[in-house]
Subunit: 386 residues, 2 copies
């Protein structure tokens, strides 16, 4: 039976999808070699270049979700025996190390406490000890809500002759991701976060140095499906058939990216930041604190500690059932202890923040939660709104 | 710029997508752990079991197109050093051998002329010479339009203690694919052929023996994204997060499969066969012949020789431009020499056959093609219609 439910998607993704994007999704399917579809691919590339802030020729959407984008970068850059340093401060860094180990790479995981971000000095030390082909870094760690500064680390990585691979699944379209400016060599994202398109595609971009690494491989890329040396010939002028592209998902991505361009990158980042600021003020007035290192909280993914004595699952279920609001639970060591509140793309609105805070307050009253004496959520929100 | 073109999709896929399926695609996105979405996954599994004619518990839709389904089966069944016999009689058998070689398997390609199908004796001989873990076979070879009988070969494969892997990308939903009856161990398909859903997902099913092979692996599956040992825990009762499922594509697949069930498997196969018979009669009256071995022509994919003196590209372009009809060109050695005319899923209608034959006749007149003296297309069609 087909559902007809409308949710307010304030979890770690998917985020709310605009009616324009849903309408695009439902346009008649055409062929993957149709001249009109070739135009669509070109427009997607151009808008992805805009969004990633890059001139990279290999800038395209892989036919899988964000994790397929991660695997694409890893398997195309690494051959058996190659070494990668993966910076792990949450689930997605851990996943990158796992993916890399499966392609026969020598993986060194540099692990720090969840929620923390890496100090450039830590990376410098690790690179001084050993030569790596690739350094992998998660920009926006969706499991902890921590934002990893990239630019300074990029300089260090390049000074040591390595390639920089960055996970921008959650950050792209919601905050600055400056691929060319920060000299990122390989970057991947997902469609269902701050681009507010349904899940199913993964934007990927490769710098000239990353392309060189791809072209200088001695072995075939271990995944046929994710092999950029072939896929680039379909997205390029040759239009060589590789696999049948997900046509309707491409329509949706084109529309979602068009909306990003219409809004403008900086305005969009600003919107994400403003709504985050209001949410944060409201949560702090309730007495709820963030788990990410202070000063490094992501604007689009607010990971907060479930207050003591409050039942994680009951509250999330009540939010979903009574208000149609989806938020995320904690992953891994954060299971049962953390809520992940997304304000991504079309879902990042002041109304959603207000609705969520009011609904949460209600749920907490039922949990007999002791609110901060004298604190006023409304006053906190008011002070943070400008 | 978003297109608004409606094509008649008579190529090798995607096929025409029904308005019901497009409407389902555009329903509001919900979360990948939403209880309603869990219901949708269960319904998809149950309808895939119906369509594959199997009770296999691991029956699910992978988050990629048909080639991702191929890679899923190969990388989950094979570990480095394992041996596979791949039966190659076209592009997709060749692709399977390529995919298998990339995961460190010992690949033996048993090659025969394109368009031909394998005699069970050929397989028997190959299996008598060497022990294989897996035998890979393409049921409906989309590059040649040849239908490979599976059942007898399955008995031989199992007698030799191997697992049978079958590519049913083009056949599923358009002709009999009897996974349990034929004892297929691993089978994959695509959504954009006879299921008439947009491309983007790949139905896959694993028998108990295939699951055993998966569970007895000594090494991790080389692809994290396609690792069934984890993905089964999301589709199963644990609902463990692996990656964000392509929500809206799942809506579309559910609707497309519902339409398969409403029509009924046998009626659907019959429809595909009838329309193929009419098309074949019409083409033969024109003097156009099939490239697949006689008696083994696929009902949903009609691969025919481009008549001598006729320009392949000009005719295909004219069909697309003047009539909105897409047919496919030849792949590999068939490039420029073969047309692939699809009659798949919603596109397999008598009207499409009539329109196509009339349009083709017109194009051929402009190519100064010498029609068979005295042959009447209309009479041939009439004789084949019942």
């Amino acid at each position: 039976m087909m559902h007809n439910y409308k949710r307010v998607l304030m979890g770690p993704g998917p985020s709310d999808v605009d009616a324009r994007v849903l309408a695009a999704l439902a346009r008649p399917t055409i062929g993957h070699l149709d001249p009109f579809f070739m135009d669509i691919l070109n427009e997607i590339r151009s808008l992805l270049q805009f969004t990633f802030q890059t001139k990279n020729e290999i800038t395209l959407a892989m036919s899988g979700t964000g994790s397929a984008g991660m695997e694409t970068c890893v398997v195309n850059l690494l051959e058996p025996g190659d070494s990668i340093l993966v910076c792990v401060n949450g689930v997605f860094g851990k996943r990158m190390a796992d993916v890399a180990s499966r392609c026969g790479a020598e993986v060194t995981a540099l692990e720090i406490e969840w929620g923390k971000v890496f100090d450039p000095q830590q990376i410098e030390q690790a690179l001084a000890q050993k030569k790596y082909k690739v350094v992998g870094l998660v920009h926006a760690e969706t499991s902890t809500g921590a934002c990893q500064p990239v630019e300074e680390i990029s300089h260090i990585v390049h000074r040591h002759g390595a390639l920089l691979l960055v996970d921008a699944v959650t950050s792209l379209g919601g905050m600055n991701v400056d691929v060319d400016g920060w000299q990122i060599d390989a970057c991947y994202s997902g469609t269902q976060k701050c681009l507010s398109c349904p899940p199913g595609l993964s934007p990927v971009t490769f710098s000239a140095d990353a392309v060189k690494a791809l072209e200088n491989r001695k072995t075939k890329v271990q995944s046929w499906y994710l092999d950029l040396s072939m896929i680039r010939q379909y997205w390029g002028t040759d239009r060589l058939y590789h696999h049948t592209a997900p046509i309707n998902m491409a329509y949706a991505l084109l529309e979602a990216l068009t909306m990003v361009k219409e809004e403008g990158l900086e305005k969009r980042w600003q919107r994400h930041l403003q709504n985050h600021t209001i949410l944060k003020a409201g949560l702090e007035a309730i007495g709820i604190s963030y788990v990410a290192q202070k000063g490094h909280e992501l604007p689009m993914l607010n990971a907060v500690a479930v207050p003591q004595g409050v039942d994680d699952a009951v509250v999330r279920k009540q939010l979903l059932t009574d208000y149609g609001i989806e938020i995320g639970g904690g992953l891994g060591t954060y299971k049962g202890k953390v809520w992940r509140i997304g304000l991504m793309g079309s879902a990042s609105t002041r109304s959603n923040v207000m609705l969520f805070l009011a609904a949460l307050e209600n749920c907490l009253i039922q949990q007999k939660y002791q609110f901060n004496h004298g604190a006023s959520i409304a006053a906190a929100i008011k002070a943070s709104c400008r």
